[in-house]
Subunit: 420 residues, 2 copies
Amino acid sequence: MSLIVHKYGGTSMGSIERIKNVARRVAKWHRAGYQLVVVPSAMSGETNRLISLAKEIQDQPDERELDMLCCTGEQVSVALLAMALKNIGIDAVSFTGWQVPVKTDSAYTKARIESIDDARIRAEINAGKVVIVTGFQGIDSLGNPTTLGRGGSDTSAVAMAAALKAQECLIYTDVDGIYTTDPRVVPEARRMRVVSFEEMLEMASMGSKVLQIRSVEFAGKYRVPTRVLSSLTDPDMPLDEEKKQGTLITFEEDEHMEQAVVSGIAFNRDEAKIMVRGVSDKPGVAYQILGAVADANIDVDMIIQNQGTDGLTDFTFTVHRNDYQKTLNLIKNKVLVENNLTAKEVVGDANVCKVSIVGIGMRSHVGIASLMFKTLFEEGINIQMISTSEIKVSVIINDKYMELAVRALHRAFELDAAQS
Amino acid sequence: MSLIVHKYGGTSMGSIERIKNVARRVAKWHRAGYQLVVVPSAMSGETNRLISLAKEIQDQPDERELDMLCCTGEQVSVALLAMALKNIGIDAVSFTGWQVPVKTDSAYTKARIESIDDARIRAEINAGKVVIVTGFQGIDSLGNPTTLGRGGSDTSAVAMAAALKAQECLIYTDVDGIYTTDPRVVPEARRMRVVSFEEMLEMASMGSKVLQIRSVEFAGKYRVPTRVLSSLTDPDMPLDEEKKQGTLITFEEDEHMEQAVVSGIAFNRDEAKIMVRGVSDKPGVAYQILGAVADANIDVDMIIQNQGTDGLTDFTFTVHRNDYQKTLNLIKNKVLVENNLTAKEVVGDANVCKVSIVGIGMRSHVGIASLMFKTLFEEGINIQMISTSEIKVSVIINDKYMELAVRALHRAFELDAAQS
């Protein structure tokens, strides 16, 4: 019999009525002959409620105790869902992370899964039960509860699917799939039926916040077919129809034939640009500048270095907009001074954004980048920086053009709904 | 160093402000050099909230899942209290029942503690930490969370004190001790400074609902000195003063010298009386009548059998008032018929109450019962049934005289506040 993992987000578990709907949906799969492991999140708002209780006590709550506190939210969810299933005649049993056990490291509030023991779950599945396991949490080698950080239930579900060699991991959430770009910016944005793991990684890291990036990495590492779909549809929808819902993240190139060369347009407005112009072009400059930025716990995104003809070099990079002023001061007042570097000027721009085209298809297609540049040129948008990877081309532009650029590119790469 | 167990009820843990007060009180003891294990209940209202969520899903919630659900309430409390202690500079660590572990049987929702492993707690205490352990719960041999039933945190605390051979178990609650009788009935009721274990058992089973009866049994079995006191006093009260608060339940006869012969007056209005008059006086009658009542899951309290001179006997017993009609019907329509018994009449009275005098001192004092009967006679109160044990005399009287009887007895046995 095929084993399927279902994951339900906090909104899907947000009320007794919704929990009953989740139970009806799970029951439908179970009655159709599937073995099921279900990973629910805490009821929406619960984790925030617990964290604010903690913050009323300690400004910086002790992290071990915070995990002890927060992991109760999912425990409530699994017990209620088990009851809801039993109430409609489906035998079910709930487990916490420590019962499975889901073993993690001891990095409280952001632990990483090390192993999942499948014996206890498999025994209950083989006894015909639906098994419900807490998301978001595990137990460390000291026997303390740990949590995986925000969105960790996605990772729990995918890891569970990997450990159980599940046929598919279904992530039920409050959106109905992954779109070619954000439909709030481009109303014609189209739901992708299939997206490759690599594309999903690029989309997720660019701010398509449907799936936690770590869950996508997990899915990739263990090649877990993972589907993102809506929990807001009719729970009694015919199974054949439900199986076509959402977006499947896949690892098989040939499932991808039907896809366009470019799969989606990602964007991010939280960018700021720093330019260090006219530095001596000698070994170690990149390290001297960026090492100090990293030491200050500032994340750097795009990095470009241009060699000049006069023995000088221009060094440009982007940081999160919140870190803009701090980074500028750091470079001017500390990095240049301490490393005895001279620069013609250190300037920046906090009003930039990043727009990227993503697509596994572009690997084998020339001319993709140039279509992107042509499109932006035709809209009169100046490109400030360019960065490329195998399946992505990103540009930094003035942020007032962001929506215009995304819409134009969406149209140029024929991603509009009319094409699906 | 002396080890002390503190237990705090749901009201004491009912808000962030109150949790901070608990932390201040615990810190005071810790700074005075005591080793401390603290057992808090769930925040007031939390267990009821969880149970009503469950009942919205299942009329009769699955008991294993109900325990999985409800044991989260205490887990939240221990984490928050640990944070509150750390916030004022006291090193603390929280543990759940399964972490200790507190091993119980598998009677979900009313499990019984089988053993407590003290190794992990002792290691943390020896490292100088305050250890906070969830009340109300444990883990069974299948590795499932269990709960001990309502009021179970008292039992957890006393059991913890027994396992750790604590010097004293302090039960902080919303009353300031055990009284000679209910102050709502007798305003002159006096707080007892010391009460014997046996007296406490009689008082608790009579409805003095300060401590769960099982926790008193546990205290008795392991001779754990247990003190009931208020958590509503100033948390910064000097330690010498705090040590004299409340009521100490003791196992040492000589600590009791100062006490009156009668320690307290207990009463219970939820009684109903059934009389089976004129049954053949032959072996097996008591069993035939009461066996059937017990089989119907009806609890019987007092039982009196009087032999007549005519070869017949009168058989009288009391049940909970809610079971009155059911019991009467059972005796009339089933027990007599099926056992081929004849009775002159089966009658009852649902308007009775039980009033008891309790005191370990009465063991060695004659005339105690007769002072009770004289007092009731002087008030014109007719006694319907009498039952005695070594440290208790109970009477059944018309319930309209209950308050009058309690006040008169309280005065007659010199329990009024003026005597303390």
